[in-house]
Symmetry: C2
């Protein structure tokens, strides 16, 4: 590297920046490129990583990147890691613990710099304790920091917003089993309704692939004299909320005039467009920011993970789409 | 590795499979894990990669993962690479050549196994010619295989479908500048209309961030006596098509009764749900499959990239949503 710097007539730091993909002036870049070519110098990141026992890869495990929330979060995660000169290895676990375990074995074997997981499997004991680890949404173990949206307040906010917008007969919809963060969202919603004497029902579709038929049947069975007996619907995810929205529209219900709907997540389908469904918005940018921050703390303090069982709770907010007044 | 296999009482192959994250029986895994712990053996993928001058990382550069098409494609790409024991490093270039160049420098420095890019920048001369490379949608150079959907036939199919469904006054919408694959889609559409004596107009929004205002103005200016003078609309992307759909709905136009709309991409917002917009569907699964196949051919033939300037054209299909009859 010294030879390259000397031949190019630039500082060693500039060469290092260039090699590590940091920004360098076009003019400097050209000089360094020429020197590298002349000297046949191969900047080998793997050799460096091996020497320092460190790599700059961070594994990010999501259930699937193919949904608005996870793709938005993956986008911010990659940008945030890049800001700190780390590269993101993206893994889709497809919600199976088997695939997740494979990735964790890979992370152990590759000596990656760290692991950020939205784990749904019980994987804590599989992870090499020397690998910095951050979990999102669900705690992996007591020694691992957790980043989570304020799901309970999100549920309350949904109830409060529907009530303030005039809804009087509320309904929570989801599918069985309602667990983890979804149950917390439901709890917040029902607590708000109970504390404020607001009528609230719960309908849960059965646990099966074609659970949408349960939503359809529920709407049909409850539809009497052109009238749907609920005027405010909250779901723990935009996905179910959008299913329900389309079923109501097809049944001739006017949304939001007769029934208002609020989902959860609030991620945009296209970054440029507004959201369609009104929703309790999770700040994916902040989730990514804090996940990377907590990971870097561990990497920099030589992987001491004790005392790190803290939880960072990210506030949520209501965002209006076309399904509320 | 021999010591681990011997102590665990399993084959060397089983240990290798375990280390490389391939499937092994739970019982075998337990034995290997115990032996690894007893021997304090660190299977270091980086050390192996360095020894063989190979890594199993493939860089995939997309403009942004945060849109249905790119997130669906990224999902399939990761799954396809995983099937062949490669890991995907995901990079969002944000459509800037600067960020893309940084990633390519990183790929050169890290000695990754290969690079798959949906490049919008002119980056051919920056890439170390020893790195296997596949481009999607836009050719990087004459020596690099290209995987692309059949954009021309997609445009024709949109025209044909609208005509068969009874539309008589067609409109192509997009924004300036219409280039590359978008121009090919437009050409296919207009060629079909011309050859079949079907009336077809083109409206292009100006090149600016808030181009949607141009779509709104166009709808308003052309709206005479409750009547919009076009009954079939095609756009080169689902994104613009969905913008236009919402503008028409807000103007009181009945879709699909008065105006039918077909977009391009056909990616699902949620994998489980049906598409909303009728669309010319790109097969993201096939694009990923062939991109990885062409990359592996290069990796296996020791990176000889000559004669590889071939194009693999993936057929498209029409998929019905709620915006056509």
């Amino acid at each position: 590297m010294n030879d390259v710097a000397s031949l190019a007539g630039v500082s060693r730091g500039s060469v290092s920046n260039y090699i590590n993909g940091k920004k360098t002036k076009a003019e400097t870049q050209a000089k360094i490129k020429e020197a590298i070519a002349a000297l046949d110098y191969v900047p080998n990141a793997m050799a460096r990583a091996l020497k320092t026992s460190k790599s700059n890869f961070v594994v990010f495990i999501v259930p699937t990147v193919n949904s608005p929330f996870f793709s938005e979060l993956s986008y911010h995660m990659q940008q945030e890691l890049q800001r700190h000169a780390y590269k993101m290895i993206l893994c889709n676990s497809n919600n199976t613990s088997e695939e997740e375990i494979e990735y964790i074995q890979m992370a152990n074997a590759q000596k990656v710099a760290g692991l950020i997981t939205m784990s749904y499997a019980n994987v804590a004991n599989l992870i090499d304790t020397s690998i910095p680890l951050v979990s999102i949404e669900k705690r992996v173990s007591q020694n691992v920091p957790l980043i989570t949206s304020d799901n309970y307040m999100g549920g309350r906010l949904a109830g409060e917003t529907l009530a303030k917008l005039g809804a009087k007969r509320l309904l929570f919809i989801s599918k069985k089993p309602v667990k983890n963060i979804s149950a917390v969202r439901e709890r917040g919603f029902l607590d708000y309704c109970q504390e404020n004497d607001i009528f609230a029902d719960v309908f849960l579709a059965r646990k099966k692939i074609n659970f949408i038929s349960d939503f359809k049947r529920f709407v049909k069975d409850n539809f009497v004299d052109q009238h749907f007996p609920y005027d405010g619907v909250f779901s723990d995810s935009d996905e179910y909320a959008s299913d329900f929205y389309h079923i109501l529209i097809q049944a001739g219900v006017q949304v939001p005039n007769q029934v208002q709907i609020i989902g959860f997540d609030g991620s945009r389908v296209y970054a440029r467009q507004r959201i369609t469904l009104s929703s309790i918005k999770q700040s994916t940018a902040h989730i990514a920011k804090y996940a990377v921050e907590k990971l870097l703390l561990q990497i920099e303090s030589k992987n001491e993970r004790t005392f790190l069982g803290e939880t960072t709770v990210i506030p949520v907010s209501f965002e209006k789409g076309i399904t509320t007044k």
